[in-house]
Symmetry: C2
Subunit: 359 residues, 2 copies
């Protein structure tokens, strides 16, 4: 069922209840870690099925009205093939009189509820994040359409010289053509620029993605759709630190707890870790920094509470080794062996040896 049909059906349910003089209600899945499970075969955090029901009462009347108005706005936006950022939605509500939101956090919460109610992602409601996407270079043709004419536009990501294709905020409509062998997702813009400068994508026959830290929703969704449609392996190249392991890679691969209703769309379960491991720090004698307190705390937390790490003894081992060493290393640390050591030695050797990856 398309999103607009779902909206129409939900609105009709409310309308019919009212005509029958019954209290209308809406049902949402509970969005919390307590309502999440992780099955490595499925590959991402899933909802368990706990629900909350919002019934129209004196206490809920404002939120109820806001939810309906936001559904109506989504319907309008989709009908016109327009978009609205989360912040714009908040400001549009300033014309909803008593149903206006006082803070953007309130409108964001209602948006999350609607997303969860229809089990779609925000982008499918026509609502887009503020943040932009991530950059692409290499063996990929992106097929978009001209917003005016609807005519196909082919964007060849081999034809950008030192620049790159910037992923749009909403990627649902994009299509792809590629003969690449894999996708390489890179933590820093600096490392991405080095690989672009030396046309690594041509030598390795791959697609390069610059994540610029924790990847945005658009970036994750882009890689997810591309890797699903073209059956491409995805390799993630981050720093060797708890932030790279747990904040970037874990979220990228299996998702996060507080957004479990959309992990299905945004995580990339087929991803493998080819970034700097604690073993690499030893083998390559990399320059390091001492672990910060926040790093140490993160390792402890993750070892104890993270359902993903629980399932993978390789990650447990790596994190314990890092804790024991008390050190971390950045991906640029490879430059100790020469600026292009990463291209000539590190990446080719890693990619040839799956035993050196982390799951």
């Amino acid at each position: 069922m398309k999103t607009r049909e779902k909206i129409k059906k939900a609105a009709e349910d409310v309308y019919k209840k009212i005509l029958k003089k019954k209290k209308p209600s809406m049902t949402f899945p509970l969005r919390a870690l307590s309502n999440v499970k992780y099955d490595p075969k499925k590959g991402f955090f899933e909802l368990l099925g706990k629900e909350k029901i919002r019934t129209l009462t004196v206490n809920t009347v404002k939120t109820f009205a806001q939810t309906l108005r936001m559904m109506s706005l989504s319907n309008e936006v989709l009908k016109k093939d327009d978009i609205a950022t989360k912040r714009e939605v908040y400001y549009v509500s300033k014309n909803w009189e008593d149903a206006r939101f006082n803070e953007q956090t309130e409108s964001d919460t209602v948006m999350d509820d609607i997303e969860a109610m229809f089990m779609v992602n925000r982008e499918q409601l026509g609502f887009i994040p503020e943040e932009k996407g991530g950059d692409i270079a290499g063996k990929l043709i992106v097929i978009d359409k001209d917003p005016d004419t609807g005519k196909k536009i082919k964007i060849d990501c081999t034809k950008f010289g030192s620049g790159a294709y910037s992923i749009p905020i909403s990627v649902e409509e994009l299509k792809f053509e590629t003969k690449a062998k894999f996708i390489l997702a890179i933590e820093t813009a600096g490392m991405f620029q080095r690989l672009v400068k030396h046309k690594y994508w041509k030598k390795a026959n791959c697609i390069l993605v610059s994540m610029g830290g924790v990847p945005t929703r658009a970036c994750r969704r882009f890689i997810r759709r591309l890797s699903d449609e073209k059956k491409l392996p995805v390799y993630v190249f981050t720093d060797g630190d708890p932030y790279g392991f747990a904040s970037i890679y874990r979220t990228f691969k299996v998702g996060s707890g507080n957004a479990a209703h959309i992990n299905e769309y945004f995580c990339v379960p087929r991803a493998k870790f080819i970034g700097i491991t604690p073993q690499d720090i030893i083998d390559y004698k990399l320059p390091t920094h001492p672990l910060k307190d926040v790093d140490k705390k993160k390792i402890k937390d993750v070892l104890k509470n993270d359902p993903f790490v629980q399932q993978h003894k390789e990650w447990k081992k790596a994190l314990k080794l890092l804790e024991q060493m008390g050190k971390r290393a950045e991906q640029q640390a490879l430059a100790k062996h020469g600026l292009n050591f990463v291209i000539e030695k590190y990446l080719p050797k890693k990619l040839k040896n799956p035993k050196s990856w982390l799951p």
Copy 2:
């Protein structure tokens, strides 16, 4: 004189002094606000001419050696037409034995010194920032070259659908073709996406740039080079708050105090402000947020100390009005009047009426 020639000459000076058994020295301009002046006719913060001299002594021997090694690395990188990020330079130094840097802040400082000594920007030394650039859509063809073959590549920024061209980290070599009437630099990625979605660049015959907050060096340099070569006016569209006025626009237009030796390259003196002014908040009855303490402090600071604001009574007036109102408004606040009010009313009216701009 090309950068490599400058390096060679500086190295020769040191070498000759040593042969004559004299103490070699290097001279750098003092990098501080106390060594800066602002002339509105020139349009950017300029150095006054104070210098510091680094002579080889027991105390300076390490920094002296590091400066020479980094000059040598720059020479190598330029010779090979390679690049190195600031962080990579730091790691490369790990092989310089006693001349190695212990912290990246140390290597960054030496890099700034060399930049100032030769009066070039870091990119001209082959050293690039970690951060990436900004996005472009609209009536512009960027001419880059294939890193392998050196063949020209033409990138047509009208052909990206919902996506955009991502500015590379180093833009010195790019060339441009355009018949656009102006450049519009936009604070948020969300607003940029709206203008792209509705092909505003076609209606207005312009080039859209997404800055994503405070623009990076690459983004500023890109706009500067493009606007200089094509004699294009540049309009800046930010939120109506002290951050948009002083952190984004002021730095964009005239530069900053602690990097005065490179403002010449990175600021865009021809820029005009068409973002949300305090008067717009009143005229359009925009939804606002109260000024935060940090906003109030910034207004006071800027009114008192900023040489740019001192020179422009319009900015003084606007900042005082904002202070008096105690409010700020985001560019998305225009959505109160409809999602596309910004396209249909706000921008056309602003652009037609130079009296509504700020200098």
